[in-house]
């Protein structure tokens, strides 16, 4: 992959607000047709980074080329070709959906038909309603479609499924995939790990103003020290000391549930550790009700990034 073909090419971005260093030398690229996720705790610098790429904020240092255009020098040209979805209402409460799309369309040289846009998110029946009359899921769908009025080559979604129920969230995932399939590149922030896992081709984890890890979701999981969880349910509690001393175990938690005693271990070498746990149980004359080996998830990556650091 060549640098010139990148949709986003950020290089050494630094943003300083008075005493606060919001971004410390962030560099990365986004390729055409990707769904690129930006994850991280609040205050990690996600919003600042995205605002620089959208031409809303200028970096203190560094450069960013968006769609081949230097965004700090030509923000208006970049804004004309990108789509931006923001959280919360962000739209005129006294205008109808159709009027808002017509209004925003008029800001761009190239724009899509409002009714066509509403159809793609199944809101054509609500064209003459106002934002406040829509359910939360409909509002989110509308805010996504409002980011597409200019048929953008690159779209930014800011927590597009925040506060939605699982059904509505899956609907939105389909819509986001549809946007990508129609030829646009998508950059999105999210707080939901399973959303990033299911939607994103690549994910950047931010922490304290830096990109702490950047890879495909499965690549990130593989790079964990302990990419598995071993969960064993026994009739008697297990002694934690021998559990912790097993080679390759990095974390042990034990809880009592209706099913019995559940011990959960984060493990590097799942089959060997599972066998060792089973024999520890037998030694204590405890019945093993259940023993599962689970792959680690982005959730574990998140914890590793924000808590204990990530290796590899």
């Amino acid at each position: 992959m060549t640098v010139t073909a990148s949709v986003i090419d950020a290089h050494g971005l630094v943003k300083r607000y008075d005493d606060l260093l919001a971004l410390k030398e962030v560099s990365f690229t986004v390729q055409p047709g990707e769904i690129f996720g930006i994850l991280g705790p609040n205050g990690a610098g996600k919003t600042t980074l995205v605002e620089i790429l959208e031409g809303l904020t200028t970096p203190t240092e560094g450069t960013a080329s968006v769609l081949g255009i230097e965004v700090t020098r030509h923000p208006v040209e970049v804004k004309a070709r990108i789509g931006v979805q923001l959280q919360a209402s962000s739209y005129h409460q006294y205008l109808t959906l159709r009027e808002i799309l017509e209004l925003f369309g008029s800001f761009y040289p190239r724009h899509a038909d409002p009714m066509e846009l509403l159809r793609t998110v199944h809101l054509e029946d609500r064209a003459n309603d106002r934002i406040k009359q829509l359910s939360g899921g409909m509002q989110q769908r509308f805010s996504i479609v409002a980011a597409l009025v200019n048929q953008p080559d690159l779209v930014f979604f800011d927590e597009p499924t925040a506060g939605l129920d699982p059904d509505a969230r899956r609907d939105l995932w389909d819509i986001v995939r549809g946007v990508r399939d129609s030829g646009a590149t998508v950059v999105m922030t999210t707080h939901y790990m399973e959303e990033a896992e299911s939607l994103c081709d690549r994910v950047a984890f931010m922490n304290a103003g830096e990109i702490a890890a950047l890879d495909t979701p499965s690549g990130l999981v593989r790079r964990l020290n302990a990419p598995y969880r071993v969960r064993v349910t026994t009739s008697e509690p297990l002694d934690e000391v021998p559990l912790r001393s097993l080679a390759g175990v990095s974390e042990v938690t034990q809880t009592q549930t209706a099913d019995g005693y559940v011990a959960e271990l984060r493990a590097s070498d799942a089959p060997r550790i599972a066998a060792a746990v089973a024999s520890l149980a037998t030694n204590r004359a405890a019945l093993v009700h259940d023993l599962v080996i689970l792959p680690a998830t982005l959730e574990d990556v998140f914890l590793a990034v924000t808590g204990r650091g990530l290796h590899g």
């Binding site: 804004k79 923001l86 959280q87 209402s89 409460q93 209004l103």
Partner: protein, 355 residues
């Protein structure tokens, strides 16, 4: 693009109930309520004139003279005594009773009244006394030594409602421009509309100008509607002509700028609306929207002279009074200073950047 943007901004104002309230309902309530009071006509005093029998010719002359008096509403009866007269006043049948009886040498007219208002009663008593005197002199046949004539200098005196009309229109323009614009801008900021607009290639000043000019257009409609209504109610404002409208709209620029300043300087929508009310409410009274400000203490008078609404109302009232626009140059000069000063401050106060 500009057309659609302006149209959308206009819809935003017209569909906002709060804006419509400040633009039309609020001043119309004032016009309507003040119209209910009739400040200009003093209510007539009802007087019963009682004679002991059918009026004698001199008694009839007195009755005719009293009946011709504008502030009296005279009914005649026969044969009331003092007790019956007091009872009639007690029962609110009349404000006063004049008992005319024949005595040894001539006629005696005794006034019994129950008017509590000291000024009103002395006015009525003195009035009746002078009519009785006049009738006496007339009946005596001699020419009066002194003929008393009064003449009001200002024969075309403006009525209180004519004073109120421009005051209420000016107040309505001020409250709408300041409160509605400040509230709209802070709502745009709070709801993220400004941020969303900034993410488009639209130059932010175009958005800003469209919002302000939409308010200005609504203010133009507002002043025309209010002038028609006030005129229909008797405030005679249409005699101010086109200049009345133009001066009113020119003054509105000041209040729009104040709205922008408040939206820029005060954080939070509730606080902005509170501040806009806190600015406009005292100004509407101190600038003499409803009452002349002459009786205010000297210190407050200084403040009154500084307020932009004071000068706008003076110019508007003078125009209604038939003065020419050229004569209003001192007021227009102060207004122009305000337009320029408030515009500069507005530019410094409100930035789309921090939204």
């Amino acid at each position: 693009m500009i057309g659609r943007l302006f149209g959308a901004s206009l819809k935003m104002v017209v569909r906002d109930r709060q804006s419509v309230f400040w633009a039309l309902a609020f001043p119309m309530i004032f016009l309507g309520v003040f119209r209910l009071f009739s400040f200009d006509s003093v209510p007539a005093t009802s007087l019963i004139v009682s004679t002991s029998s059918a009026p004698t010719p001199p008694q009839q002359v007195l009755i005719d003279a009293l009946s011709d008096t504008e502030f009296l509403e005279v009914t005649t009866v026969v044969g009331l005594d003092e007790i019956a007269a007091a009872a009639a006043i007690e029962d609110d049948e009349a404000d006063g009773v004049l008992l005319v009886t024949a005595s040894g040498t001539g006629e005696e007219a005794r006034l019994i009244h129950g008017i509590n208002d000291p000024i009103g009663s002395s006015f009525v008593v003195a009035g009746i006394a002078s009519i009785v005197d006049g009738v006496n002199i007339g009946l005596a046949g001699g020419p009066p030594a002194i003929t008393y004539v009064t003449e009001s200098v200002d024969s075309d005196e403006t009525s209180f409602f004519e004073f109120l009309g421009p005051g209420i229109i000016g107040m309505g323009l001020m409250t709408f421009a300041t409160i509605s614009l400040a509230a709209s801008l802070s709502r745009y900021r709070e709801e993220g509309v400004l941020r969303r607009i900034r993410a488009t290639p639209l130059p932010p000043w175009k958005f800003f100008v469209s919002v302000v000019s939409a308010h200005l257009v609504v203010a133009c409609v507002q002043v025309i509607v209010l002038a028609l209504v006030a005129d229909a109610l008797g405030a005679n404002v249409l005699s101010g002509g086109v200049w009345f409208i133009l001066v009113a709209v020119y003054g509105t620029l000041i209040f729009l700028n104040i709205g922008v300043i408040l939206a820029g300087r005060v954080r939070g929508r509730g606080a902005v609306e509170g501040a806009a009310n806190a600015v406009t409410m005292p100004m509407m009274f101190l600038s003499g929207s409803f009452f002349p400000t002459d009786s205010l203490p000297d210190v407050v008078q200084t403040l009154v002279e500084v307020l932009p609404l004071t000068h706008m109302l003076r110019a508007l009232r003078a125009l209604v009074d038939g003065q020419s626009i050229v004569e209003q140059w001192p007021e227009l000069l102060v207004m122009t200073l305000w337009v320029a000063g408030s515009f500069l401050l507005a530019r410094m106060s409100f930035s789309l950047r921090d939204s």
